[in-house]
Symmetry: C2
Subunit: 125 residues, 2 copies
Amino acid sequence: MATTRDRQLVEQWRSIQNSYFRTAGAIDRALEAKFDIGLNEFEILDLVAESEESACRMKALGERTPMTQSAVSKVVDRLEKAGLVSRQTCVDDRRSLFLELTEAGRALHSSAAVEHRALLKENLG
Amino acid sequence: MATTRDRQLVEQWRSIQNSYFRTAGAIDRALEAKFDIGLNEFEILDLVAESEESACRMKALGERTPMTQSAVSKVVDRLEKAGLVSRQTCVDDRRSLFLELTEAGRALHSSAAVEHRALLKENLG
DNA sequence: TCAATGTATATGACGCGTCATTGAATGACA
DNA sequence: TGTCATTCAATGACGCGTCATATACATTGA
């Protein structure tokens, strides 16, 4: 039986969906147009930029985004091909990788971050 | 320059992303496992079920979900192939289509809706 | 009544994310 | 030290959503 509570939940859910899709779509299109990277690429760039000092393992990224391990790997592929990030092998544990922003990556990130924040403000209020 | 306001926005955004991905993922897997339909299929089924009396045009669906027109069309393809929905041509405007739940569609929807609501409650609190 | 323009849906090429699996390195423990 | 299980990351097959278009029908207005 469809309770009022149920309807509330469904409304709340649809509202989250809209919030998410509108915002993600807007940011994605803008970053694509101005910086030629997608939203997920930016998100990873952003995470790498954040953890700059304690050099950033792939593993750690996976824990900070809802993306799959394999998605992260492919996003990093693209970022690396675009020359924005570089994978550094890790001596302590040779299964692991560290990620570093290249100069180009750092530059692009700081411009793109401005746009990103602006669009968040616009869309999330 | 990275203001506190910016950090707040980014936090808020990540929280929405997590909410969305965790919830969508959980529902999608559950529906897939128990009813063999994905989340988007269910969402469309749900919308069709809602507007049952004022027969439901494709067009109207597009306005009620963040999905693309073309995505909706393909979701409906799958639902139709699965025998859950049928497309009825519209006499007034032969470009349009009405959607109807089949018996199987109605049955599946009412079971799946229970699961759906339960998972929303669990994930959105 | 006949363009020209607009609207409702379908379709194909394409990119990306996911799942399952693989390969390589590590750890645990007898 | 030698197995066996575990962990990190990469890869290939696959499904789905998107964009740009196509197709069919409708509407407008001269």
